[in-house]
Symmetry: C2
Subunit: 254 residues, 2 copies
């Protein structure tokens, strides 16, 4: 399915996680903030490039960008609305909420390298299960910028111990979409108490002989919004990404 | 010479290009702008990552940063002062000009990969000549951001034809400090009429059998200042860089 076709489905009401959709096309996280917070967010991203690799930034009030020719207000399968850091609604259309001063940031997503993992023979459990990827807020603090601070959020994929090195090698070739894992193995070291209770997305089974592998996650900006309480923000519903017009291969380094 | 020692020399009045200084320590371009232009500049950098890889950003009015423990007002060998886009002075101390609202951006510099070029047996002519690297404004436009627009600036190193591939391979491993060349060969295609008349720095000899190889250059922000005419800006004197506390190897990708 092309990005255009996928976006049309979401526009017409389909709501499901986008992992595995439009194979080969890059997916992105969304965070939209008032213009007067745009510098602080871009600085936060510069200081935390692993969780916040910025792929594109819109002009204030714009509803598309060079990277995303669809309509940012309707063409994602789901959105989260924040007021003063509180999640006040999850909706599938934000047309009425898209203010003239909103700047939208598209942030790289690890779904981008999942096709490469599969090609290398590394299983991706949430694909097999048809569920959303599990994501966790961690005890690792991002480097703050102005009023913005918050914890690192990670996504987790269970990887057979003998394929962890492959998973590292493959994903490190995609630095613009979170790149290599930030952590391999011990959830407690990230402050994660229970893998079966992710903060976002769905739990997945970690089988005997598998190791939980953690990648930086583009939900981190939303965790910063929840902590830092800006008056208004719109994010994507975690796992329900913007499917862009860029190719995964655009972000592959040699 | 350690970064501290080099910075002390510059603070005490030494003014010379920094190519070859403090081998192994990362050098950086400086552009300092009023806070109300900081977002536009950071966006300009996000949209033009080859010439403007941002390594660090100071708090407004700050004179050092995590990456640069020296004093940004005194510890570079030279500075250029711009008012409304006009170069009004080149000085070696900007203490009296460092306003409370100035945000300083440290931008990656290709001097960082010159040690790696030498190690790979690729000659670096401006080292041999003891001169500054030649830099050229090109006919290639950067992608604008708000009020900021300007041409791509490049640095040039003559490389023996048989070693061009090595030069590409080695420098592509340093994406955060301009990475692979943007252009190999034909200066006219970049709108450069005369290699012997660089816009910044000194000309170098291109010998028979050598090809001019062009890398994106961190003087690009100053070219944008000259074009876009913000009220006030401070840049480094081209080739006279900030020697940071980071190691070149910090920017090497596998």
């Amino acid at each position: 399915m092309t990005p255009d076709e996928a976006r049309a489905r979401f526009r017409s009401g389909v709501k499901e996680p986008t992992a595995g959709w439009s194979a080969g096309w890059t997916q992105a996280n969304l965070i939209a903030l008032p213009r007067d917070l745009a510098y602080e967010f871009l600085l936060f991203a510069q200081r935390n490039p692993k969780p916040c690799p910025v792929l594109d930034v819109t002009e204030p009030g714009a509803t598309s960008s060079p990277l995303f020719s669809g309509d940012l207000r309707t063409d994602l399968p789901g959105y989260r609305i924040y007021e003063h850091g509180e999640l006040v609604a999850e909706v599938d259309d934000v047309t009425d909420l898209w203010r003239e001063d909103l700047v939208a940031f598209l942030v790289g997503c690890s779904f981008t390298f999942e096709a490469a993992l599969l090609e290398a023979g590394v299983p991706v459990r949430h694909h097999e299960a048809g569920s959303n990827v599990p994501m966790y807020s961690t005890s690792v603090e991002c480097r703050p910028a102005g009023s913005l601070s918050g914890p690192l959020v990670v996504s987790m994929r269970p990887v057979p111990a003998g394929q962890v090195a492959d998973a590292v090698r493959v994903t490190s070739r995609y630095p613009a979409v979170h790149g290599a894992p930030v952590h391999v193995g011990d959830p407690a070291a990230l402050g994660i108490r229970d893998l079966d209770a992710p903060d976002f997305g769905d739990p997945v089974e970690v089988r005997s002989g598998e190791v939980p592998v953690f990648w930086a996650c583009g939900v981190t900006p939303q965790a910063a919004v929840m902590r830092s309480r800006p008056p208004f923000a719109i994010g994507h519903a975690p796992g329900h990404m913007a499917i862009t017009d860029a190719r995964d291969s655009d972000y592959l380094v040699p």
